[in-house]
Symmetry: C2
Subunit: 162 residues, 2 copies
């Protein structure tokens, strides 16, 4: 069954082999859990994995997440709070984020036109584009379902007092 994950495992295995690194049980577990979560922190992944696989060290989580980033499977994000979140970028196409300052909601979107313009800008400035991060910050129009702050709201940047 788990074809999705198997594909990733194979990919990971190949990537590791290329670099003379080893496929360990821990790396499989972390990859598996990582693929099931979006914008997750190392600590949160640690907690989650701990439920079924006791004693997979936090250090290993950090190491593996960094490894996944180096292999192009994951990407680091900083959404205003002080914790780094990790995001799967391999099988989901380049996707960008909308973040609500008030309730912390994160919506993903894609825009091929923007992607295209990014390529143009990189080219124009003498860069070979490999990757990008686009984050749009603002507020939900639907105030009803927003008001209740989920997380500590990021201080509104560039927003006049009103």
């Amino acid at each position: 069954m788990a074809t999705e994950v198997d594909t990733e495992i194979t990919h990971l295995k190949n990537q590791l082999a290329q670099r003379h690194l080893k496929l360990t049980r821990q790396r499989e577990i972390v990859l598996d859990a990582f693929l099931k979560n979006d914008h997750i922190t190392a600590e949160a992944l640690y907690q989650q994995i701990a439920k079924t696989n006791a004693h997979l060290g936090l250090a290993t989580i950090y190491r593996t997440l960094n490894l996944l980033c180096e292999l192009g499977i994951g990407q680091e994000r900083h959404f205003g709070d002080n914790k780094t979140t990790f995001d799967n970028v391999l099988h989901k196409k380049h996707h960008d984020h909308l973040i609500c300052y008030k309730c912390g909601k994160i919506v993903e979107f894609e825009c091929s036109e923007i992607e295209k313009l990014q390529e143009e800008m990189a080219d124009k400035h003498g860069f070979i584009l490999q990757n990008h991060k686009l984050e749009l910050y603002g507020y939900c129009k639907d105030i009803e379902n927003c008001e209740k702050s989920i997380t500590t709201p990021t201080p509104a940047v560039g927003v006049p007092t009103s």
Copy 2:
């Protein structure tokens, strides 16, 4: 003379007054130094200010930079390394960044078409757009002037071993 800075000081003063905050000598000094630098870290700003104004505490730098962000004068950035950099966004129009993985060079650019598409995307997803961050990562085409790594290179995300 220093009209540029004076304008900012006035702006800052107004913003502070609105919030019942006070315009202190330290805040003026930090604002002044901040406006003369791009992508600067709190620590670097501290060092720089120390040359002419001894004993302006590091904590004050942090506090003031965070304040400037809240007032919409500055914006935090995370360019791969572990230090937060601060960026002036008030009088320079929204500008985005190209970052070279190898040499760490940062180039600023503007693209009104992208900005426009961003507005559209936000609107489409029920967001009122306030702000954005766009970072393009890649490599300099001009390898000659790139090779020498200035800073610790960020591990290449999403780049296959080649």
